[in-house]
Symmetry: C2
Subunit: 343 residues, 2 copies
Amino acid sequence: MTRRSDPDYRPNLTLRDVSEASGVSEMTVSRVLRNRGEVSEKTRQKVLAAARDLGYVPNKIAGALASNSVNLVGVIIPSLSNMVFPEVMMGISDVLDDTPLQPVVGVTDYDPEKEERVIFEMLSWRPTGLIVAGLEHTDAARKMMQAAGIPIVEIMDVDGSAVDACVGISHERAGRETATEILKRGYRKIGFLGTKMPLDHRARKRFEGFNAVLTEAGLALADEEYYSGGSALAKGREMTQALLSRTKDLDFLYYSNDMIGAGGLLYCLEAGLNVPGDIGMAGFNGVELIEGLPRRLATMDSCRTEIGKAAAQIIASVLDKSAPKPARQIELSPVFAPGDTVR
Amino acid sequence: MTRRSDPDYRPNLTLRDVSEASGVSEMTVSRVLRNRGEVSEKTRQKVLAAARDLGYVPNKIAGALASNSVNLVGVIIPSLSNMVFPEVMMGISDVLDDTPLQPVVGVTDYDPEKEERVIFEMLSWRPTGLIVAGLEHTDAARKMMQAAGIPIVEIMDVDGSAVDACVGISHERAGRETATEILKRGYRKIGFLGTKMPLDHRARKRFEGFNAVLTEAGLALADEEYYSGGSALAKGREMTQALLSRTKDLDFLYYSNDMIGAGGLLYCLEAGLNVPGDIGMAGFNGVELIEGLPRRLATMDSCRTEIGKAAAQIIASVLDKSAPKPARQIELSPVFAPGDTVR
DNA sequence: GAAGGATTTGTTATCGCTAACATAGATTGT
DNA sequence: ACAATCTATGTTAGCGATAACAAATCCTTC
């Protein structure tokens, strides 16, 4: 009576309305609408008809509070501005579509503080599980996740230690393997092109792995170029031109992602360079776009969809107590795809 | 006592725990944590310290139920598989980041029945507002949205009638204007390349607008080609090759999106065709990628980020009762960007 | 046809938090 | 000094659903 005295208070339909319209108790209505418990066919039809007529939409807020269960899965990713994370989302959606669970997305912009806020916000909805990109978090964020008492899946990366479960690839290893392949093919004077993103730990780890192999072989990067913002394809072009004109005789260009790699490839072909004879190129991610380029850029698949699927399965597995428990640490192994841009 | 007798019941921290730890009432704790109402600085500090020590995370489910307000905005889009919708999301996030609101995404896969289910699911969380792509919905979905009593913003399209607010462009007009520009430049034998998606109403409307202008000029499409699935860039290539070898003397190719247009452009350039002299090309969307192509594909910007922003602003405006109310019907006007692929 | 189990429906007590109102202290004005 | 006015805090009563238990109804079966 106090609440409803607010002049702005606009009551929605409740279970009570359906209950009155159909002449049964609220509990029975609840049972019908959730398909839970035994209800006679006659009553069921009566209730469904009443609910439909009224246009009743259940209030999950109340339901979640009463049942202490929320069919939401928090998904926390750094960005939506390239296809990498939407593709992970697709994997997640794909699996969750077969369950009552629904993903809720939060974006951190690669900012640890913002990530912490987003995690806090997510956890305050008491989701069934949380999927978070990366293994690097603030101490507070890590503590919150540990204390949450729900499955937490850290995705994309396995180089580090996870709060709970984790699914991803080793970016350090990806960098190493790419470097190994490149050296094996006889390239020696190598340039690196990447993003200006100190907080993109996965890019950093690839870079470190890559460099480590060069160092072990007694080599070092001949030159580097970084960008931020703008059309990745255009930036790839510009950076490539800048790098090649600054440092002569480079025989390989390693790009931190396929998009700038594609830009670089287009540039080299237009410039009439002999790819992969005089100069080789490789990117990272294995994006679909590569299929349509004049030559297939060498790359390494980052297994985005599989990662999303596996992560979602781990979360979904808590619903089905009888199902076999999936592994809680999953490392996928991307393979180097030489395409047409290495010899 | 009954609930807590469940052996699996794992109680989270509640306001009561913080209240006991800090020696004030639950209500005062609630006030401190929400920055609402007058609380002395001393008490505030005491409460904050207790909450931090315990690692308390509020339960928004309970809060939302008690206060009858939910800081969630439902966003319902057909797909995540191309950058169009993630870019709309970016616009939405951008605006909502300055508010207490948080987006929750649902994906429909262009399926009206699934859309209806997703809308039902969203509304059952009693969000502050709903953003839905497109104007075409099932009757039931439309009825639910009307009855929800929250701002509903239908986005991307304005060719039709909206349930409540709407922000977008006229795809019919976009198609017409593109056709007009093409004819103005003297192209006459035109081929169309698009997606096999009867339920992509916006693509259909562009197609219809485009055709209408041709018809008015006494012309008709010379040939058409459709695809589904796969790398859009690669498909653009393949379709272009197929179309050009099937129908000779085409002098223009109109693509239903930039990605296949880009593939087509790469193909034509490799094939040594004279673009835009002998054959012109145009796409749709104005994606960033275009900047990095060998030539800038003619296109028309679909104003994705602005649409997302405007939609989010409409929803956000209900929070701030003093703020000026934004228009509830917003039509943006994309302009034809000729680039380098029309003469 | 009455006992006894199965099936169907109802009642009660929360879930954790917040709106509204109530009250206790502190402060002020005359 | 005492009523009037603030400030700071507490109390009460839900929000709309569901879990657990209780009661009522329906069949069997002998």
